[in-house]
């Protein structure tokens, strides 16, 4: 699939099966300073052939910078970047064997769709027959054959993004780079394109690196998610792994919508591998099986519970509290309750609600102002140390 003419390394000649487990992109100690701003901090990441890597993080976390660094549109201050085992740190973007799809599509407005898609090959002075064949093939994959003679302005947003993806496919790159490609599309189209991109990835088998701030895109498309924060990688792992076992408070809060509820607490006793924590408004919480306890009595800790892990009414968990419903959001398939009372939720840096968010998998006949008993199991709760690291033992990524 990834037989790119511009890459003379012998790895190209190997077939797809041999590529499994081969390194596609490798970043080693990559640092990036903009005038006084530390944009990327010691990035180490190995991406294997055929992986779909999604990079997420809050605005300004460096995810787009990292993508542009891989593309070669930004230079690195130090560190090395290899693509297919070849050191490309100092190479021009056009020589790296990458193709990039931009959030704003970045189509050339004065060219037809076909000319847009063949532009890269034309610049590389490929024979016309080869360009036409590559454009035709890409257009068939994306079902835009009828649009080839149109101009970008005659197309809808979704079609334009298809053309931009087609332009990338035409060059048969080693690595596809996507910079928030779907965020300009409306919700319905986004869902559709998400599925199409995943299908495309399965068809082409190429390495794809995808930057987004949309959690759903990250969770559904990624083979591995890279969570970035303030220019550094927080955690890398499969979507379910990251969701079940966030390494720290940041990752726990970033993945999942509605967001995890965090309660501030204090360590009251430590004995062996057991830690007791008090949280205002809750009974004392006893966390067991904690490996390598570094906490001491009086430490400030954080307890986290995902909204869907709360129970209401008759079902009771290990810890419960009485709360009053302030707002109900009926989503049809599920119900989200914002409740007051019991422990106080800390929002951290994110400006969020002070209410506890409870997500119920049913349409529930609650009404605003009603009192409700909310509880959760300790096995569903996360304990984060004073440094934000997760202390509670790993949970199974999939549950029965």
């Amino acid at each position: 699939m990834t037989v790119a003419a511009q890459n003379p390394t012998p790895t190209n000649q190997t077939n797809n099966k041999d590529k499994i487990g081969m390194k596609s992109v490798e970043l080693t100690n990559v640092e990036k300073h903009y005038s006084g701003f530390h944009a990327l901090k010691d990035i180490n990441l190995t991406i294997e052939k055929g992986e779909f890597i999604v990079m997420v993080g809050p605005s300004g976390c460096g995810k787009s910078t990292l993508l542009k660094t891989i593309a070669g549109l930004e230079t690195v201050t130090s560190g090395t970047l290899t693509i297919n085992g070849r050191d490309v740190t100092k190479e021009e973007p056009g020589d790296r064997g990458i193709a990039m799809v931009f959030q704003s599509y970045a189509l050339y407005p004065h060219m037809t769709v076909g000319e847009n898609m063949g532009f890269g090959l034309k610049m590389a002075k490929r024979p016309k027959a080869e360009i036409d064949a590559a454009v035709k093939r890409a257009a068939e994959i994306l079902r835009i054959t009828e649009q080839l003679d149109k101009r970008p302005k005659q197309l809808s947003g979704g079609q334009r993004q298809r053309v931009a993806i087609g332009r990338a496919i035409t060059r048969s790159p080693e690595v596809f780079l996507f910079d928030e490609p779907l965020s300009n599309l409306d919700a319905a189209l986004r869902t559709q394109m998400r599925v199409e991109l995943s299908t495309l990835h399965a068809e082409l088998g190429s390495t794809m690196i995808y930057v987004t701030h949309d959690q759903v895109e990250a969770m559904t498309m990624a083979s591995r998610i890279v969570v970035l924060n303030k220019g550094a990688i927080e955690q890398v792992g499969s979507p379910l792994e990251l969701y079940a076992n966030p390494i720290n408070h940041f990752v726990a809060g970033f993945l999942g919508a509605p967001r995890m509820n965090f309660f501030e607490g204090r360590v009251v006793t430590v004995s062996g591998n057991r830690v007791s924590v008090t949280v205002e408004g809750l009974p004392e919480l006893q966390f067991a099986d904690i490996a390598d306890v570094k906490l001491s009595v009086g430490d400030k800790v954080m307890v986290g519970v995902r909204p869907e892990r709360f129970k209401t009414g008759e079902q009771t968990g290990d810890a419960s509290f009485e709360a009053k419903i302030r707002l109900i959001e009926h989503l049809g398939r599920e119900t989200i309750l914002h409740v007051d009372g019991g422990p106080v939720v800390t929002t951290g840096s994110d400006t969020g609600t002070q209410n506890i968010t409870v997500q119920l998998g049913d349409v529930v006949a609650f009404s605003n102002g009603q009192s409700v008993k909310v509880s959760f199991d300790l096995s569903d709760a996360y304990l984060f140390g004073p440094d934000g690291k997760t202390i509670t033992p790993a949970k199974a990524a999939t549950r029965t």
Partner: protein
């Protein structure tokens, strides 16, 4: 549609506005009208002082034929074309190159270079009269086409660079990143991406530079001497000397000289396309 500066129901204000606009228009076009009318008159009319009245005889064809038969206007006209056309082309080429580099590449001293281009425009041209003339004499270009071409290209490129730099800087960044990611060299980017997208700017600039260079009188006087080099502007004043009171012929020559900039405008007009970058980014 358009905002209306005066509400429709204020009848008096609207009337005053229309009257004012008409008055200014008439005043503005009056000299031109007089020149056109004079170019129709007979020599006798001019001698009799009939400048504004109805012409006693329409000498339209005779006057315009006389311009070509009895004066050196054809030569001056050719000289003007020889000076203006290459100058305009060179100004467009140079300013596109400088504009592209100054807007898209960051390098040490780029701001200084840009400041010099812009700052040069603030110098009154007259203070350079003696130095430029001496320069042209000493390098042997005085009283040649090259003197005027060189000067106009050098002087027009400053403003044109400012114009093109700002226009190219306004093109979406992603287009350049996309081109670079696809392996286009800076030259390829310039030719395949920048030039097609700055066509309206190039057309506007072409009209401005053409009109300025074509109409230049000052430098034509300073840098040329002989009839084989003189452009139309300097030539027209020659006409005045040769035909002291033949204002009808001078007027006809003037109208003739004024045609090329107008033609230029209509030639370039089709390139004024708004929204050329529509469809490039977002929706």
């Amino acid at each position: 549609m358009y905002p209306r500066p005066i509400p429709e129901n204020k009848k008096l204000a609207r009337f005053g506005y229309m009257a004012g606009v008409s008055l200014v228009l008439v005043l503005w076009l009056l000299p031109l009208f007089a020149v056109i009318m004079t170019s129709f008159r007979s020599f006798d009319d001019v001698m009799a002082g009939n400048y504004w009245g109805w012409p006693s005889k329409f000498n339209l064809v005779e006057n315009y034929v006389a311009v070509f038969e009895q004066t050196k206007m054809t030569r001056y006209f050719m000289n003007s074309l020889i000076i203006t056309v290459p100058s305009v082309i060179m100004v467009l080429v140079f300013s596109t190159l400088t504009g592209f580099v100054l807007s898209r590449y960051r390098f040490r001293g780029s701001m200084v270079i840009f400041a010099i281009f812009v700052g040069g425009n603030f110098l009154p041209q007259q203070i350079m009269m003696i130095p430029i003339r001496d320069l042209m004499v000493s390098i042997g270009l005085y009283d040649t086409f090259y003197a005027l071409i060189l000067f106009h290209v050098a002087f027009q490129t400053g403003f044109a660079t400012l114009f093109m730099r700002n226009f190219i800087a306004a093109l979406p960044d992603e287009l350049f990143q996309a081109a670079r990611a696809e392996g286009a060299s800076p030259w390829q980017t310039l030719i395949h991406i920048v030039v097609p997208l700055v066509r309206p700017a190039l057309a506007a600039l072409a009209i401005l530079a053409f009109t300025f260079i074509w109409n230049d009188y000052f430098w034509a006087l300073v840098l040329t001497q002989s009839d084989v080099v003189k452009p139309v502007t300097a030539g027209l004043s020659n006409l005045k000397g040769e035909w002291v009171s033949a204002w009808n012929i001078v007027s006809a020559a003037t109208i003739f000289v004024a045609i090329p900039p107008v033609v230029m405008f209509f030639l370039m007009q089709k390139h004024f396309i708004s929204g050329l970058t529509m469809g490039a980014v977002k929706g």
